[in-house]
């Protein structure tokens, strides 16, 4: 794909003008880093990081039955979501394979009228839109708002403080996994509190034309406390330390939620696509998602095979040097008998075996 055909977020010009090293990420031109992955990672852990997540798809559903409709598409019950609440869930195929991991929001407009909002992985936008459109009831209106809006994630111990100045009303009143409409720099938008780094923080969703003004205001405030704009490189090391699964790595159409360690995202007391297949699977036969700590300095990477003796028992799905731990770590899938904490296995690093230990997830948890 050439650069001309890549999609650009409303913040593209800022990234390009401020040292962002731009790469193709699922068809979007996105910054992988501005200065250094380690610097950006540490800025987020110690102060605040700003993330352009505008490439993620944002869908809106209007109509009294919107939440009930989404309820049938996701593993997690959402029909009972109270206004202002957000829930993580998985969209599965009939055979139980994961089409995407998504967030469902129950929001209210200024008149108190409910609507449903959904955030979907950038690379799965068309697939999930088609999945929805093929099943959309007549009384639910579906709108893809991705390109009319921008989404900025502000993450880190100083995230709430620097965001508060831009948003009307007390954002500290929002609890984790809550969101609401908000006036952001005098314009309408959404504020939510989810996050993908293991830190506290908020996401500000604003009309595309206001994106640069909001980003620049955040950037000035972040710089004052030692914060930084953060690219995809550090976003990946942050979420890896927090052991949050990434679609295309830990999650795919070939993986079911049963093996991904996402039991919390399953509600068996409602009907959803894939439920029957998932109930029929013998869970013990599936590989399990585990954390791995290398015993030397070699960095495990995606697709490196995992061995016990001469037997291949799985593979790495994500791996990197952990900037916080200053040690190499990985997430992978292994056969269930090798998944117990403390089990020693081998990672094949480019033809040579290196010892790794199965360790509890997440690798990092904020105090």
């Amino acid at each position: 794909m050439t650069t001309e055909t890549l999609k650009k977020t409303p913040l593209y010009n800022w990234h390009a003008a401020n040292g962002g090293r731009m790469v193709d990420f699922t068809g979007w031109s996105m910054p992988v880093q501005y200065t250094s992955i380690i610097d950006e990672h540490n800025a987020t852990r110690n102060a605040v990081g700003l993330f352009d997540v505008s490439h993620m798809a944002r869908f809106r559903f209007d109509g009294a039955n919107a939440l009930e409709f989404i309820d049938g598409l996701v593993t997690r019950k959402v029909a009972d979501l109270k206004p202002g609440r957000i829930r993580y869930g998985l969209v599965c195929k009939e055979d139980g394979g994961i089409l995407d991991d998504i967030l469902t929001y129950h929001l209210q407009d200024g008149d108190g009228k409910s609507y449903t909002w959904m955030v979907v992985n950038a690379g799965n936008r068309e697939k999930i839109a088609a999945w929805i459109n093929a099943r959309l009831p007549d009384d639910v209106k579906f709108t893809d708002c991705t390109e009319q809006t921008a989404m900025i994630a502000v993450q880190g111990p100083r995230a709430m403080a620097i965001s508060q100045n831009l948003v009307e009303g007390d954002i500290a009143e929002l609890k984790y996994y809550q969101g609401r409409e908000a006036t952001i720099l005098s314009h309408p938008g959404l504020v939510s509190r989810t996050g993908y780094t293991g830190e506290d923080g908020v996401e500000l969703t604003v009309p595309a034309e206001n994106a640069i003004a909001v980003w620049e205001a955040l950037h000035v405030a972040a710089a004052e406390v030692g914060g930084h704009a953060v690219g995809l490189g550090a976003r990946d090391t942050l979420r890896l330390e927090a052991a949050m699964p990434l679609y295309g790595h830990e999650l795919s159409e070939e993986i079911t939620p049963l093996q991904a360690g996402l039991g919390f995202a399953m509600s068996w007391d409602h009907e959803f696509i894939g439920k029957a297949a998932l109930e029929a699977i013998d869970k013990d036969s599936l590989p399990v998602r585990v954390g791995l700590a290398m015993q030397d300095r070699r960095v495990p990477r995606e697709h490196y095979p995992l061995y016990s003796g001469d037997e291949q028992i799985g593979e790495v799905t994500s791996g990197s040097q952990s900037p916080t731990l200053a040690a190499p770590i990985a997430i992978g899938y292994v056969s269930r008998q090798y998944a117990a904490e403390g089990t020693m296995i081998d990672v094949d690093v480019r033809g040579k075996r290196h010892a790794a230990k199965v360790v509890p997830l997440p690798f990092y948890k904020r105090k």
């Binding site: 992988v32 880093q33 250094s36 992955i37 380690i38 490189g233 090391t237 300095r297 070699r298 960095v299 990477r301 990197s320 040097q321 900037p323 190499p328 480019r350």
Partner: protein
């Protein structure tokens, strides 16, 4: 160190050739350009002393947070010495790629590969074109 007398491989290694007792010894490292592109360095695997290496073939590995890259031998010969202090001081490569940043010294057994290497000006031009 001045880069005037260095030669460069397309794969971003630098080479300094010196004569010693009638033998040609190549000191080899990684260019500043490549070090900056790799950025956050976390691991270096040196070649083993005594190993016979072949020009164009991998003889070491360097890892950044983001990726692992091969280091290719720019000449053919025997590894005489490896810079064992370097793996513990990878950050120093950012300031000192062409001096204390050397990786290995190779006794050249066949100098035909030297003609494939570029001078600094040609190498800089290649990097510029690569973007």
């Amino acid at each position: 160190m001045s880069t005037d007398n260095l030669l460069f491989a397309k794969t971003h290694e630098w080479v300094k050739v010196e004569e010693s007792d009638g033998a040609k010894i190549a000191t080899v490292g990684i260019s500043s350009h490549a070090i900056e592109a790799l950025n956050d360095l976390v691991y270096l695997e040196l070649p083993e002393v005594g190993k016979e290496v072949t020009a164009g073939e991998s003889f070491g590995e360097i890892e950044s947070v983001k990726a692992v890259s091969d280091i290719y031998a720019p000449v053919t010969g025997e590894v005489l010495e490896a810079n064992t202090a370097l793996p513990d001081n990878l950050d120093s490569l950012h300031e000192d790629a062409y001096d204390n940043g050397w990786i290995a010294k190779i006794k050249i057994s066949d100098d035909s590969a030297l003609s494939d290497l570029m001078d600094k000006a040609a190498y800089d031009k290649m990097c510029e074109e690569e973007g």
